[in-house]
Amino acid sequence: MATVHVVLPYSLYTLARSGAEIELDIAGPITLAAVLGALEAAYPMLAGALRDRATGRRRPLVRFFACQDDQSNLSPDALLPEAVVTGREPLIIVGAIAGG
């Protein structure tokens, strides 16, 4: 079991009524899909906010950052960086810069 730290943007932590940074206990390989699954299980109101309910595809204006890298286009089943798995670094979810 790993404890992963996730940082949510304002729009989502107010929707979830959580803090900006949350902890998720996850068993098994720590992939983006596993983290999002755990997040949606803990906060069902976030289902559909980050990825399409039917296809699982990331919503176009959602980004995932970790360890100063953009993880947005990682395969959902790829392992996240070790620092995220060990809880030293958070997975940061942001709304993409869009607009003027």
Binding site: S11, M45, G48, A49, R53, R59, A98
Partner: protein, 370 residues
């Protein structure tokens, strides 16, 4: 003493405006859901404390919020809007076909009798219904059988924006779609027919086509549900046979382009519109914000200006941003893209701004509370 609750959806949150029956002094609550687009908020006629709100974002998608205490507290409910079966393709601006894709909920229409039943009009155009207070949603897919493959988005998107439930006939309902037209069901949504005969639209290849008309709004008086008024992309129209045939009632309006429309609460032949300059100039003619009222069911219109800006006004009034209360005299309300919400407590003769500096107003609905 009766009082009024005005539910305002804006580009950056929801606001709730309340007043006693005098409608002079207002309390403002909000923003609720700050930063999110609130396309519509509606209260259940069967339980006025039950409110539904459509909250959406280009980043994070669709949320439906529900309140059971008149908007003091809210809880997210279901946001899983899946089309029934394979919805196929529809036309796009460039002549290609695109797959049907859910984008957002434009309009919520609670049942007049059951607080847990509510209809949702969505983009890409379809009608959904929930019978469990918004927890789950099911499409009424027969609507798309009305030549859905030929529907094409208007500039605002291919949205189902108007839902009218016939108060005398629970099996009858109407919807309107940009840019497909108006449709009626006489069996609770199991089947539909297009009701666009009499519409003439020069911006489509066949101006009198069965579907493809850009209907902006339909309004009905509950005591006369067979009479419908329509603000089309251009033209103000009327039908006296439940939409079977339409005739134009634009009359002396300075422009018959517009979006918003409402019918007086107690006078079925008194109708309100807000003329907009043109399809490419979305602001009032001459920079004068004027509501036009016809007491004759159309054709003869009077400008209502007292209390409204009559120079340098270039706001728009969107299709879901006008409503009436049911007090006597009837109150009329509308919101603008400039963030003003205006009220007239005397059926339109005089106006005052309740608020002036909200984000752009997307929708206004009104509850008359006991």
């Amino acid at each position: 003493m009766p009082h009024i609750r005005v539910l305002v959806g804006t580009r950056k949150g929801a606001f709730i405006l309340t007043s006693d029956a005098a409608r002079r002094d207002w309390q403002v609550s909000g923003p609720h859901f700050g930063g999110w687009e609130i396309f519509h908020i509606a209260g259940s006629p069967a339980n006025p404390d039950r409110l539904y709100a459509s909250q959406s974002s280009s980043w994070f998608g669709q949320v439906i919020q529900r309140s059971d205490d008149g908007g003091v507290t809210w809880n997210p409910v279901g946001n899983d809007f899946r089309y029934f079966g394979d919805p196929g393709m529809h036309l796009h601006y460039d002549g290609t076909s695109k797959p049907w894709e859910f984008k957002r909920v434009w309009h919520l229409e609670p049942s007049p009798t059951d607080p847990d039943t509510v209809y949702a009009g969505v983009e890409d155009a379809a009608l959904f219904r929930s019978t469990d207070g918004g927890l789950t949603w099911q499409e009424l897919p027969a609507l798309r059988e009305q030549q859905g493959a030929k529907w094409m988005p208007g500039a605002g998107g291919m949205c189902l924006h108007t839902i009218l439930l016939d108060p005398e006939n629970p099996a009858r309902m109407y919807v309107a779609i940009s840019a497909a037209g108006a449709f009626r069901s006489d069996d609770g949504g199991a089947s539909w027919r297009s009701i666009n005969r009499g519409l003439h639209s020069q911006y489509i290849p066949d101006p009198e086509a069965e579907v493809g008309h850009c209907v902006h709004r339909i309004a009905m008086h509950p005591a006369r549900p067979n009479t419908l008024f329509m603000q089309k992309h251009w033209d103000v129209m009327r039908s006296d046979d439940a939409g079977d045939a339409w005739f134009e009632v634009s009359g002396n309006l300075p422009s018959d382009f517009g979006f918003a429309m409402a019918v007086h609460a107690h006078e079925p032949d008194t109708v309100y519109v807000v003329p907009i300059q043109s399809d490419s100039e979305h602001y009032p003619p001459e920079g004068k914000l004027r509501v036009y009222r016809s007491r004759a069911g159309g054709n003869a219109w009077d400008a209502l200006t007292d209390g409204l800006p009559q120079e340098h006004c270039y706001v728009n009034v969107l299709r879901d941003a006008m409503a009436v209360d049911s007090l006597d005299p009837c109150g009329v309300y509308f919101g603008t893209t400039g963030g003003q919400v205006y009220v007239s407590s005397d059926a339109g003769d005089h106006w005052q701004a309740i608020v002036r500096d909200l984000p752009a107003v997307l929708s206004v609905s009104v509850q008359t509370l006991p």
